[in-house]
C-alpha cells in the first residue's frame, strides 16, 4: 500500500513552494530506502563498472589498447595517447564519450533495476535483486529505445542554443552554455517518467514517452526540480573537469584522476536521487489520482 501525502495531491503545475516540498519529500523518502542495501546495489555495480573502465584506461598505454581509446578523439592516435600527460588530459573527453554509449546501452539495465527495487520498497515489499534485474532485462529493448531517443534529443537541444546564439555579437560568453544546459535538463525532465512507465505499467515506447510528457507537463516545476537539483550536485566537478588543461599544468595531471573519480561519485548520488525521486513522485501521484477517482 502506498502512503499518501496531501502534498502530492494538491501541488499545482506552477506551484513552486508545493513542488519544492514534494521534491524534497521524494528525495528523503528515496534516501530512506537505502536502509535496505539491495536498493543501492545496481547503481553501485554500475559505479564499479565505471571504475573498472577507468582502471583499464589508466593502464591502457600500450597498443592495441591505446589505439582503442584514441578512436574517441579525432586527430589522436594510439602513439600520442600513450604519452604523459596527454593520456590524462584527454581522459575526461574519452571517458565522457564512452559514457554516452554506455548511458544508452548499459546504464538502463541498472537504472531499471533500481526503479523496480524502489517501487518494491514503496509497496513495502522485500526488494528482490534478481527479480528486478530479470524484469528489467525482459523490458530491456524498450528501455534502450527510450534512452536512445532521449539522448538524441538532448544532444540536439543542447546544440540549438550555440547554433542560434553562438554567432550573435554582444551575447555574453556564458549565455550559450547555460542555455544549452537548461535545454538538456528540460528534455530530461520530459523523459523523466518514461522508463518508470515501461517498468511499472508495461507501456510501449510511444505510450511511455507520451504519458511521460503529459505527466511532466502537468508537474513541470516538480519534474524540473527532480532533474535540476541533483544536477547541481554534479556542477562543481563538471566545472572542474572543464578546466582540465589548467589543472594538469598548474597542479598535476594526476589530479585529473581524482576529479574523474569524484565526478563518478557525484553522478552516482545524483542518478539515485533522480531515479528515486522520480519513482517516489510517480508512485504517489498515481496513488493520489487513484484516490481521487475512488472519491
Amino acid at each position: 500500500m502506498i502512503v499518501l501525502d496531501e502534498t502530492y495531491n494538491r501541488a499545482g503545475r506552477f506551484d513552486i513552494a508545493a513542488s519544492a516540498r514534494m521534491v524534497f519529500t521524494s528525495f528523503s523518502t528515496a534516501l530512506s530506502y537505502l536502509q535496505s542495501f539491495r536498493v543501492a546495489v545496481p547503481l553501485l555495480a554500475y559505479f564499479g563498472l565505471k571504475l573498472l573502465i577507468l582502471a583499464l584506461y589508466l593502464n591502457g598505454i600500450s597498443e592495441p589498447v591505446s589505439s582503442f581509446w584514441a578512436l574517441f578523439v579525432r586527430g589522436l592516435d594510439g602513439e600520442n595517447m600513450s604519452h604523459y600527460p596527454v593520456h590524462l588530459i584527454v581522459m575526461q573527453t574519452i571517458l565522457g564519450r564512452l559514457e554516452m554509449v554506455l548511458g544508452i546501452v548499459v546504464h538502463p539495465a541498472f537504472q531499471g533495476a533500481t526503479v523496480l527495487l524502489i517501487a518494491s520498497a514503496i509497496r513495502r515489499q522485500a526488494p528482490s535483486l534478481g527479480g528486478s534485474f530479470r524484469e528489467t532485462l525482459r523490458k530491456y529493448p524498450r528501455l534502450v529505445g527510450v534512452s536512445l531517443i532521449m539522448s538524441i534529443l538532448i544532444l540536439a537541444f543542447v546544440h540549438i542554443p550555440s547554433a542560434l546564439l553562438g554567432d550573435m555579437r554582444g551575447v555574453p560568453g556564458l549565455i550559450v552554455p547555460i542555455a544549452a544546459v537548461c535545454a538538456g535538463l528540460v528534455v530530461q525532465a520530459f523523459f523523466l517518467y518514461a522508463m518508470i512507465l515501461i517498468l511499472l505499467e508495461d507501456r510501449a515506447i510511444p505510450g511511455a514517452i507520451g504519458e511521460s510528457f503529459r505527466l511532466a507537463w502537468n508537474t513541470i516545476v516538480t519534474s524540473l526540480l527532480l532533474v535540476g537539483l541533483p544536477f547541481i550536485l554534479t556542477l562543481p566537478v563538471l566545472l572542474l573537469g572543464m578546466k582540465g588543461d589548467l589543472i594538469a599544468f598548474h597542479l598535476s595531471p594526476d589530479f585529473l584522476v581524482h576529479v574523474q573519480i569524484a565526478g563518478e561519485i557525484m553522478i552516482l548520488i545524483s542518478t539515485y536521487l533522480v531515479i528515486g525521486g522520480a519513482t517516489v513522485t510517480f508512485s504517489r501521484k498515481r496513488a493520489a489520482a487513484e484516490e481521487n477517482r475512488k472519491e
Binding site: L52, A55, L56, N59, G60, I61, S62, E63, V65, S82, H83, Y84, P85, H87, G130, R134, S252, P253
Partner: protein, 501 residues
C-alpha cells in the same frame, strides 16, 4: 536462475580481469617510458616553480635531484625502449641548463658533456650540448678546454657535409671558428688566431655559395666582415664593406652600420681621422634616424675632445643633446663629456651640477655610476679630505639606493662593485673586504664574484700588510671552490704567501 546469473556475470568479470591484466603488462617498455615521462614532467614543474622562488637553495637542490634521478633510474634502458633516449637526454640537458643558471658552472659543463655522450642519435641535442660545454669552458676561463671543445665542435658539426644542417639548427653555431680565433688571440697565439680567422672566412663563403636562403647568406657576408675585423685585416674588411654596400645599396637599414664600421676602420685601423670623421658625418647627416647616427656624432665629439678641441667638441655634444633629447640614456655620454669640458675649463660648480644631474636622472648608466665617484675624487685630488669623505658617503648612499630599487640584477651588481670601489678609493679597506666577501653568497649566479676572495686576499696582503689574513681568505676560497681553476689560483697565491714551508 542462480546458474543463469553465474553464466552471465562470470564471463563478464573474467573478461574485464583479462583485459585489465593485459593492459597492465609493460609491453614494449611503454609503462617504463610513461613513468619516465611523468618524472620529467614533475621535474619541469619543479623547475618552473623554482623561478618563482629566485632559485632558493632548498628548492634548487630538489629540482636538480629530480632531474638526476631520471637519468640514474632510466639510463640503462636507453637503448631498449623507444623514446627513452629523448627523455633522458632532455632531462640531462635541462639539468645542465639549471645548473648553469644557478652559477654551478663546472658541474653544468660536465653535465653538458654527459648530455653529449648520452645523445647518440639526437643530433640537435649533441650540437647544443657540445657547444654549451665549450661556451661554459670559455666563461670559466679554461682556454685550453674551450679551444678543445670548440675544435671538436668544428670537426664534427661544421664539416662541408654537415654545415648547412648545423646552420639550420641555429646560425650562431657557425661563429665557432671566430670563437676559436678569439680564444687563441686571448692566449697570445696570434698565428693560430689568424689561421682560424681564415678558416672562418672560407666557411662563411662556402655557406654563401651553397645556400638558397638569402637571410642566411646575408648573415654569412656580415660574418666575413667580422672575421676580417677580428683579425685586424683592414684592407680586406674595407673591400668586403665595398662589396656589401653594392649588394645592399637599396637597404636603408644596412648602409648606416656599414658606413659606421668603415669609419671605425679608417680611425682605428689606418689612423685616418679626417676620412673617419667624413664618414661618421655621413652617417648622422644622411641617416639621422638610424641607430648609428647618435653614436657617430658622439664619436666625432670624442675625437675632437681627445684632440683638445674643446669648443668644437662642446658644439657637437650640444648638437647631440638638442637633436636626440637630454632625457635619453644614449645622450648621457654627451652630458658627461660636457661636464668634463667644464671641469677642464675650471668651472667646477657647473661640472658638479652636471655630474649630479647625471647620477640623479640616469642612475643605471656607466656615467651615472661614475659621476658620484668623480665628485669624490675631485675633492680627494685637491686634498680636501672632509669634502672627499662626505662625497664618498653620498656616492655609497646613491649606490645603495640603486641596490634597494627595482633595477635589474645586472645594475644592482654593478652598484655593489662601485661601493667596493668607493671604499677602496677612500682607503676604507676593511669595509671593502667585508663587502667583497658578502657578494658571492648574495649573488650566487654571478660567478665573477667568486674571484672576490682573491681581491680580498690581495687587499689584506698589499694594503693592510696582513699576510695571515690573506692566507686565511685564500684557504676559504680553496675550500669553497675545490676542484676549480679559481681554487688552483688561490692555492698558488697561498703557497706564495706562506713561502717554502
Amino acid at each position: 536462475m542462480k546458474t543463469t546469473r553465474r553464466v552471465t556475470t562470470v564471463p563478464v568479470i573474467l573478461t574485464m580481469a583479462v583485459l585489465l591484466a593485459f593492459a597492465a603488462c609493460d609491453r614494449g617498455g611503454n609503462k617504463t617510458r610513461y613513468a619516465a615521462e611523468k618524472s620529467l614532467f614533475r621535474a619541469r614543474k619543479m623547475r618552473e616553480e623554482l623561478g618563482a622562488t629566485s632559485l632558493k637553495p632548498e628548492f634548487l637542490d630538489k629540482a636538480l635531484e629530480s632531474y638526476r634521478l631520471i637519468v640514474r633510474n632510466y639510463r640503462d634502458r636507453i637503448d631498449n625502449i623507444e623514446g627513452m633516449e629523448e627523455i633522458i637526454v632532455s632531462a640531462q640537458m635541462e639539468l645542465a641548463e639549471l645548473e648553469f643558471l644557478s652559477g654551478m658552472l663546472e658541474i653544468a659543463r660536465d653535465d653538458f658533456k654527459e648530455a653529449y655522450r648520452l645523445a647518440r642519435t639526437i643530433r640537435a641535442a649533441r650540437v647544443n650540448a657540445l657547444y654549451s660545454a665549450a661556451v661554459i669552458s670559455q666563461e670559466l676561463g679554461d682556454m685550453p678546454g674551450a679551444i678543445a671543445r670548440f675544435r671538436q665542435f668544428q670537426d664534427e658539426f661544421l664539416g662541408q657535409d654537415a654545415l648547412l644542417e648545423t646552420a639550420a639548427l641555429n646560425t650562431r653555431y657557425l661563429v665557432t671558428p671566430l670563437k676559436i680565433a678569439e680564444l687563441y688571440q686571448a692566449s697570445d697565439n696570434g698565428k693560430e688566431a689568424d689561421r682560424w680567422n681564415g678558416t672562418a672566412v672560407q666557411m662563411f663563403n662556402s655557406v654563401i655559395e651553397n645556400t638558397d636562403n638569402e637571410l642566411l647568406a646575408k648573415e654569412m657576408r656580415f660574418n666575413v666582415l667580422t672575421a676580417y675585423l677580428q683579425g685586424k685585416r683592414w684592407r680586406e674588411a674595407l673591400e668586403t664593406i665595398g662589396k656589401l654596400k653594392n649588394i645592399y645599396a637599396d637597404s636603408e637599414a644596412d648602409l648606416p652600420p656599414l658606413l659606421f664600421i668603415e669609419a671605425k676602420i679608417q680611425h682605428e685601423g689606418f689612423s685616418n681621422t679626417t676620412r673617419a670623421i667624413e664618414l661618421y658625418r655621413r652617417v648622422y647627416r644622411e641617416y639621422p634616424e638610424s641607430g648609428e647616427a647618435l653614436t657617430a656624432l658622439l664619436v666625432v665629439g670624442g675625437i675632437r675632445f681627445e684632440d683638445k678641441r674643446y669648443n668644437e667638441a662642446e658644439k657637437i655634444y650640444r648638437q647631440a643633446i638638442d637633436t636626440y633629447g637630454e632625457g635619453n640614456t644614449e645622450t648621457v655620454e654627451a652630458s658627461w663629456q660636457l661636464a668634463r669640458i667644464a671641469e677642464i675649463r675650471g668651472k667646477w660648480l657647473d661640472a658638479s651640477l652636471m655630474y649630479k644631474s647625471i647620477y640623479t636622472n640616469f642612475p643605471g648608466t656607466i656615467e651615472g655610476f661614475e659621476a658620484p665617484l668623480r665628485i669624490a675624487n675631485h675633492f680627494r685630488d685637491r686634498g680636501e679630505k672632509d669634502a672627499a669623505e662626505a662625497a664618498c658617503n653620498t656616492a655609497v648612499e646613491q649606490y645603495e639606493k640603486i641596490i634597494s630599487s627595482q633595477a635589474g640584477e645586472g645594475v644592482r651588481i654593478m652598484a655593489e662593485e662601485y661601493i667596493v670601489r668607493a671604499f677602496s678609493e677612500q682607503d676604507k679597506w676593511h669595509d671593502a673586504i667585508r663587502l667583497l666577501l658578502l657578494l658571492p653568497d648574495k649573488y650566487p649566479r654571478y660567478t665573477r664574484f667568486r674571484e672576490n676572495y682573491l681581491a680580498a686576499a690581495s687587499i689584506y696582503e698589499n694594503e693592510l700588510g696582513d699576510g695571515d689574513a690573506a692566507a686565511e681568505t685564500l684557504s676559504k676560497c680553496m675550500e669553497r671552490y675545490r676542484g676549480s681553476n679559481l681554487a688552483a689560483e688561490a692555492e698558488r697565491q697561498y703557497r706564495r704567501i706562506k713561502g717554502p714551508e
